[in-house]
């Protein structure tokens, strides 16, 4: 409909500005509506296997994610115990706290009353056979033997109402096997220097604000109790757990991202001002950066539905890289006011540099590790839009008389330096060869294979958690049976089907025990079956009569038993809501997770604590014993195995993707440069930089992880710009080489500032990237200079 309008230059300028402004507006809108997260989600695979899905569910919303470990230390045990008691009293009233355990037997009597009243529904011993004359006689004889034991006088009152021993059987089954040390009636660490509390929050693991509030309430309660108690001034509160991790890492990432962005902005602005001596240039130079950052966030938000805090943390690096384009433009533009020189000679090089970086980052976007994929997309969108703004918008925004400081004198000095540096060519090549040899020889020790290396959680926080967990004497749960079913009752039935096999494993000493939700709450079907198995009054009386022959117990004495059985025959079955007030409900909740589509039940397997099988579970034996019971809905999960295999998968994939990215870069350069020799010349300094940075890290005792690898790939992507400039310098003769050299140095300084600052981060992932790319960028520039061939212009003067 519209006639094509011939593009005049000014029309084109306005069109570019219009598109840019519209783009900025749209990006800002997207960013405005973006969800920012800082939880474990960045570490989860985008296309998880069923095992990984379960792992992810547990990490995010499992009951384990609701548990906070609290320690109080720094005072006399008696004072600490008292603090624990008072704090518990205060916090048990708090609606944000579901459960608090600190070793006190609070609620124990209520639990016992509940168990006792429902014992004929809960006890696995209840079958029709149990109430025949023979069954009754066997059970009552066992109860009499129980009376003969050392604790007989403590349990004797049960006999008249529970002569078949259901209550003791239940307690035995439900009581935890071991726990932390008890001191003054409270849980303590083994050496008694710390009292311990276990708190289950009402907020789920992914409700971070509520987790944060709960943690604040705990701190407030401690402060209040401490103040009210003389002699407790020196006591300290320690809190750990997934909720603390989530909140701490969110806060750390948030504050680090803010702090680092701020510092690097200030540093880079200072640097730029020192170069430009012009506020206008400073302001204009930030336009590509801001555009890039907005576009990057918007792209990630659109691509992933949310932006992870870590991705923002890397935003600082973009400042360092995107500002380079403006530097090239400004420095060149000062020499040639019409900008034609920049367009003709530098834009192709910058474009190639951007494309090279994009190749590197594009490989990352394919990663199954969401954190990396986001980083890749963010960088691509950011760099491309920053370059486009530099090319199409920025030149026309520069005032007619735009001038920055003349950097030619500096450039000339740099040129002389390059001449001197070239003498080191052979030494560098030899050093690189040595580095290759070192890396080859130490291949096995290069990589860190622990998932923790990727954690956004500060190291000190991780250490505290390990400490408190060992204090709790709570062995890490490693092996789980995960059952999935459409609803709670189906999940409980699935769980019950596994009990006989699990009991056999316990009897065989393969397991110390297991925690199963169907032990705390049998399915309604099972409860109903038990109820049906209870005899009517006449039958029971008759069976009891013959069972008691020759025993020192009379039917009259057991009248309360007869009454209880009669009542149990018609009592309502136990619903999940009925046990929510019991202290063991935390164990029940921990093992039942309700999601929108299904219920998953967990059975924790505990390794034997002694004997030949101590501390290990023979997983093949367990698998064999469970045999046909395992299927897609019933999965035996090795948490440690699953998470470490996940990490291996990431690492392998990242290695592969890096190789692909590298190959893409080579291909791109080959297509553009059309000369094997030139591609080699561009690549040699990059290889040297990567090899020597990796060797340096290794010699410094750093075990590289996935993020170091990404850092090396970034080094190649960033460094390729420098190498390409040296390459074109060679091709084009050396007229403007002083300015180019100077702008390369400035670009390098800003990049090193942006990435280098990450090295000082407290967040392990950011630090890994920083310590790799910071030195890597310097090395890439330096080596590009060292390995550059003398240009035609100055070849005659070269030594």
């Amino acid at each position: 409909m519209m006639k094509p309008i011939p593009m005049t230059p000014s029309r084109r300028i306005w069109l570019a500005r219009g598109i840019w402004l519209l783009g900025l507006l749209l990006c800002a809108l997207v960013v405005w509506r973006t969800e920012f997260r800082a939880d474990f989600s960045a570490f989860l695979p985008r296309h998880p296997t069923p095992d990984q899905q379960i792992l992810a569910e547990q990490l995010q919303d499992g009951a384990g994610a609701r548990v906070l470990l609290v320690g109080i230390e720094g005072s006399e045990p008696r004072v600490l115990a008292d603090l624990s008691k008072r704090m518990a009293t205060a916090l048990r009233q708090d609606p944000m706290i579901r459960q608090l355990q600190n070793g006190e037997t609070v609620g124990f009597e209520a639990d016992q009353a509940l168990l006792f009243s429902a014992r004929y529904l809960l006890s696995p011993q209840v079958t029709a056979e149990h109430f025949t004359a023979a069954g009754l006689r066997r059970a009552i004889q066992a109860s009499l033997d129980e009376l003969a034991s050392s604790t007989g006088l403590l349990t004797k009152d049960l006999l008249a109402r529970d002569p078949t021993g259901e209550m003791l059987a239940l307690l035995e089954q439900l009581l935890p096997g071991s726990g932390p040390r008890m001191l003054h009636g409270h849980w303590f660490s083994a050496r008694g220097e710390r009292t311990l509390l276990l708190i289950e929050t009402r907020a789920t693991g992914s409700e971070m604000d509520a987790q944060g509030q709960t943690i604040a309430r705990i701190r407030a309660a401690f402060a209040q109790v401490q103040q009210a108690m003389p002699g407790a001034a020196s006591a300290r509160l320690l809190i750990s757990g997934p909720g603390v991790f989530a909140v701490a890492s969110r806060d750390t990432i948030h504050s680090e991202a803010t702090r680092l962005s701020l510092i690097s902005t200030v540093l880079i602005l200072g640097l730029l001002f020192a170069i430009y001596r012009s506020i206008t240039a400073l302001f204009l130079g930030m336009l590509p950066v801001l555009t890039g950052a907005l576009a990057g966030i918007a792209a990630v938000s659109l691509g992933f539905g949310m932006v992870h805090g870590m991705t923002l943390g890397f935003g600082t690096t973009l400042i360092g890289e995107a500002v380079d384009y403006a530097i090239y433009l400004f420095v060149q533009r000062s020499g040639a006011p019409d900008g034609q020189d920049f367009m003709q000679r530098f834009w192709p090089t910058i474009r190639l540099g951007v494309l090279t970086s994009v190749c590197g980052f594009a490989a990352l976007t394919l990663s199954g590790f969401m954190g990396l994929a986001q980083l890749g997309l963010y960088s691509i969108a950011g760099l491309v839009s920053a370059a486009l703004v530099t090319r199409w918008v920025l030149p026309h925004l520069l005032p007619r008389n735009f001038q920055v400081r003349d950097v030619t004198p500096l450039g000339l000095r740099l040129l002389r330096a390059v001449h001197i540096l070239r003498r080191g060519r052979n030494a560098l090549l030899a050093l690189t060869a040595a580095g290759v040899l070192l890396l080859g020889l130490r291949q096995a020790d290069l990589w860190n294979h622990e998932l923790g290396a990727l954690s956004p959680v500060p190291l000190s926080t991780q250490a505290l958690d390990t400490q408190l967990r060992s204090d709790m004497a709570a062995p890490d749960v490693r092996h789980l049976l995960v059952l999935r079913a459409p609803d709670v009752q189906a999940a409980l039935q699935r769980c019950e089907a596994l009990l006989p096999a699990l009991d056999r494993l316990v009897a065989a000493g393969q397991l110390a025990g297991f925690v199963a939700p169907c032990r705390y709450l049998p399915s309604l079907a099972t409860q109903a079956a038990r109820q049906q198995a209870l005899p009517d009054a006449a039958t029971l009386r008759r069976n009891l009569g013959s069972a008691l022959q020759g025993l020192p117990v009379s039917t009259a004495f057991l009248a309360p038993f007869l009454a209880d059985i009669e009542a149990a025959r018609t009592r309502p079955l136990l619903q999940p809501a009925d046990v929510q007030s019991a202290s063991f409900s935390s164990a029940l909740n921990a093992s039942l997770t309700q999601t929108a589509t299904h219920v998953s039940a967990l059975i924790q397997l505990r390794a034997p604590t002694r004997g030949p099988q101590a501390h290990t579970i023979d997983i093949d034996r367990v698998r064999h014993e469970l045999g046909p019971l395992l299927d897609e809905q019933t999965v035996l999960l090795d948490l440690m195995g699953a998470s470490s295999s996940l990490y291996h998968q990431y690492l392998d994939q990242a290695l592969l993707l890096s190789a692909i990215g590298l190959a893409a870069i080579v291909l791109l350069l080959a297509l553009q440069l059309r000369s094997v020799q030139r591609v080699g010349a561009v690549f040699l300094p990059l290889v040297a930089a990567v090899v020597l940075v990796a060797s340096g890290l290794h010699l410094a005792g750093v075990r590289m992880n996935l993020l170091h690898l990404v850092g090396l790939l970034l080094t190649v992507a960033v460094g390729s710009n420098y190498a390409l400039f040296f390459d074109t310098l060679d091709e084009a003769g050396g007229d403007s080489s002083p300015q180019t050299l100077a702008s390369l140095l400035f670009a390098n300084l800003t990049t090193v500032t942006g990435f280098g600052l990450l090295a000082f981060s407290d967040v392990p992932v950011m630090k890994s990237i920083g310590v790799t790319v910071g030195p890597g960028a310097i090395a890439a520039l330096l080596f590009s200079a060292v390995l550059s061939r003398p240009s035609r212009h100055d070849r005659p003067t070269a030594p």
Binding site: T105, L144, D145, L147, A148, S149, S150, T151, G152, L153, L154, K156, L159, A160, E172, S178, R181, M182, L183, H184, G185, A507, G509, P552, V553, S554, F557
Partner: protein, 193 residues
């Protein structure tokens, strides 16, 4: 005559005094001191629990041992094997495969039954008096000790414990519960070492 009679009285009195002085003093310290001399004691026991409503007492038997400074082991063999070990403040109960460890301080209702015997055998007066009000009567050869629990929780269940002994050996432990039930444990002389 009057004089002789008076002299006779005096003599008798003196004789009694001398006799009394000649006999070693008998009090809690001296009894505990003698008990603590034995660093290893191995005995057997039989126990009868009298529980109302039951037509016959519940019987059990086994071995009772002590090792200085503070370990007591009660190994029940009949009717069902079970080991109860008290080591300092820790109680370990083993029954078949099942092992349960708990702190004596957390279970005063259990501690009241066993701490008295252990404290006596260890000669630990402080431990004894921390848990019970102690009364001693009789002679070094035939003595009786009454232990009344001080802990509130323990006192709710146990009214009094009577120990009876000969020389440095405990021979009988009777526990009277507040509800009228009771138990009597008869302990053999220490087995020859």
């Amino acid at each position: 005559m009057r004089l002789t009679k008076r002299a006779l009285w005096l003599l008798t009195a003196l004789a009694w005094c001398g006799l009394a002085r000649a006999q070693p003093a008998f009090d809690l310290d001296s009894l505990l001191a003698r008990m603590s001399v034995q660093t290893r004691v191995a005995t057997t026991f039989t126990e009868k629990k009298f529980i109302k409503g039951l037509d016959a007492p519940i019987e059990s038997s086994g071995e009772l041992g002590f090792e200085a400074p503070s370990r007591m082991i009660k190994r029940t063999l009949l009717p069902r094997p079970e080991t109860l070990k008290l080591d300092d403040r820790t109680v370990t109960m083993e029954r078949g495969r099942q092992v349960r460890t708990l702190s004596l301080d957390d279970y005063p209702e259990l501690a009241v039954h066993i701490e008295g015997i252990r404290a006596c055998m260890a000669g630990d007066r402080a431990a004894l008096e921390q848990f019970y009000r102690v009364e001693l009567s009789g002679s070094p050869t035939q003595w009786k000790m009454t232990l009344i629990p001080l802990n509130e929780k323990a006192a709710e269940q146990v009214q009094v414990i009577h120990l009876a002994g000969e020389q440095a050996d405990i021979r009988k432990v009777q526990v009277l519960l507040t509800d009228g039930d009771s138990s009597i444990m008869t302990i053999s002389r220490p087995l020859s070492r």
